[in-house]
């Protein structure tokens, strides 16, 4: 993969990731944000968050199964866009939906399970976004950084639960996203097992054994 192609692909990825924003802008300008624009914005940004979380989680298995290592260079981009949309999603709730009614916030964050899990998913993504720079990776060390960024699994699972609990009757969409997430997590288990089988079982060095 040449640098030129990577740049071109990045431009395409940016545009694809911004599609929900373009859609909202277009619908806003054409007065087509449905009868309930705030609900539509909330749903659109929430769904974009979930989709981008799943795309981000798909990159590592896709890379390992296909051997296309350059895929990894898109993971930060999609991950940060997932964070971008969850910020929009939360801001829509706080600013447009309940319009900074702090009492309502306190009620929602203590009494409404689907809002609580959604909020936790959002909180857990903040440190991931903050430590997304190359500088942070160097500073933290790859091991710690990787460990911290395992939080994305928790956020994704909570995101699915949040969606599931919010729905009134038709669970098709959260079930679909949930299934995709399950497949992506199972793929990791498969990759882990595969790598264990390839590697010879770890033994203490011969010299150490001899010294016993």
């Amino acid at each position: 993969m040449t640098q030129k192609k990577i740049v071109a692909l990045k431009v395409i990825t940016w545009l694809a990731c911004l599609e929900p924003v373009f859609l909202l802008l277009y619908k806003y300008l054409t007065h087509d944000l449905t009868a309930n624009p705030i609900e539509f914005i909330t749903d659109t940004t929430g769904e974009a968050t979930l989709v981008l979380l799943l795309v981000t989680l798909a990159i590592t298995p896709a890379r390992k199964f296909t051997g296309l290592n350059w895929l990894i260079r898109f993971r930060r981009l999609t991950g940060l866009f997932a964070f971008f949309y969850i910020v929009l999603h939360f801001s829509t709730y706080l600013g447009l939906d309940i319009q900074f009614d702090w009492h309502q916030v306190s009620v929602d964050l203590t009494k409404r399970p689907f809002i609580i899990v959604g909020f936790i998913a959002f909180l857990l993504m903040i440190p991931l976004a903050v430590t997304s720079t190359s500088w942070a990776i160097r500073k933290m060390g790859g091991r710690n950084w990787n460990l911290l960024h395992k939080l994305i699994y928790v956020s994704a699972v909570l995101g699915i639960i949040h969606f599931w609990w919010k729905v009134k009757a038709d669970h098709t969409e959260p079930a679909t996203y949930g299934t995709i997430l399950a497949i992506l997590l199972l793929a990791r288990v498969g990759l882990w097992v595969k790598s264990r089988m390839k590697r010879p079982p770890t033994r203490k060095p011969q010299a150490a054994l001899a010294g016993d």
């Binding site: 009868a35 309930n36 705030i38 319009q99 929602d108 399970p113 009134k168 038709d170």
Partner: protein
């Protein structure tokens, strides 16, 4: 399935006389205007009488029971933002999928514990009211936390009940939506327990605010809003307003209702609009009026307490939600 095919009705009985007349006059006018125009405009109308019915203008009187002083929700919103799961669960699914739904011929079976059970087409149901059609502008509060102001056209349900002469044992009225998965794509999936059923206590059904609507905004009901005939109970959450009704049955015991069966802890039989009793998953204290930016406070019994509160005297509304 208990739903039987309605008996074949002669075509002349289905299509309204006014439709015939308007079609004839239109044919004449179109003949003058040009054969090409006549073919393109008139043929589709002649081939599908139900489409002609869908745009029927209605004659009605304005009712004193209308809600005043609030802006009527634009028709575009009430016809594109619908919860009618029979046509799909997204808000815009009904307007996309209900276009070809056949609402004529239609038969409503009025049955159960009554002296005069009958099967009627929609026109005959309307004729049961001596007042003719009336326009009732009502608030409509959805259990999801949004609301609209809709100018319904219909008749009091009480007129239908009186005509059927329920027996003293009849304490409740049960309603049923048509079950027709071929026409209703949403029914092909078990999202809800089809067919949709609803119910009212007899006094609620007899209340002067309770109507069977056959139209809105001066015309017959669009399919996505529950054509050809639906229930409107303005002090209850919108889902109580069962759509596309084929059966009205008088019963002794509280009848099952679809959303209550689906999630009994979330949707009660009564489902009166009540800002003090939250849905387990969200607050019911406020609502977003479609077209408005700020939320407004939800009113007890959706603002119709003067008409209905006495029916619930002594009842614990937290228990009977």
């Amino acid at each position: 399935m208990l739903i039987k095919k309605s008996p074949e009705v002669p075509y002349s009985e289905i299509t309204k006389k006014t439709d015939y007349l308007s079609r004839r006059s239109f044919l004449t006018a179109a003949g003058i205007a040009g054969a090409g125009l006549a073919a393109s405009k008139v043929l589709p109308e002649m081939l599908s009488p139900e489409l002609a019915f869908a745009s029927t203008k209605l004659n009605f009187k304005k009712s004193d029971l209308s809600t005043h002083g609030e802006d009527i929700t634009p028709e575009k919103d009430t016809t594109t933002y619908n919860n009618f799961y029979e046509f799909g669960t997204d808000k815009d699914d009904p307007s996309k999928n209900a276009g070809k739904f056949r609402t004529s011929p239609w038969s409503v079976s009025i049955e159960g514990l009554c002296d005069k059970p009958q099967k009627l087409d929609v026109d005959s149901v309307v004729k049961l009211s001596s007042n003719g059609l009336e326009e009732r502008v009502y608030r409509m509060r959805c259990v999801e936390g949004w609301s609209m102001i809709i100018p319904w056209i219909g008749i009091p349900l009480s007129a239908v009940i009186k005509a059927a002469q329920p027996k003293p044992k009849a304490k409740y009225v049960a309603f049923e939506t048509i079950w027709d998965p071929k026409q209703m794509p949403g029914q092909q999936r078990q999202v809800l327990d089809w067919p949709y059923v609803e119910g009212l206590r007899m006094d609620e059904a007899m209340n002067q605010l309770t109507i069977l609507a056959v139209g809105m905004y001066g015309e017959s009901l669009p399919n996505q809003d529950g054509a050809p005939i639906r229930l409107v109970v303005p002090w209850k959450y919108g889902f109580k307003g069962i759509k596309s009704i084929v059966k009205i049955k008088f019963v002794e015991k509280e009848p099952p209702t679809t959303w209550n069966r689906m999630a009994p802890e979330e949707y009660g039989f009564y489902s009166n609009v009540n800002p003090n009793v939250d849905h387990p998953r969200w607050s019911q204290a406020t609502e977003r009026r479609i077209g408005e930016f700020r939320r407004r406070k939800t009113l007890m019994f959706n603002g119709y307490a003067d008409f209905v509160a006495s029916m619930y005297n002594g009842m614990d509304l937290k228990k009977y939600y």
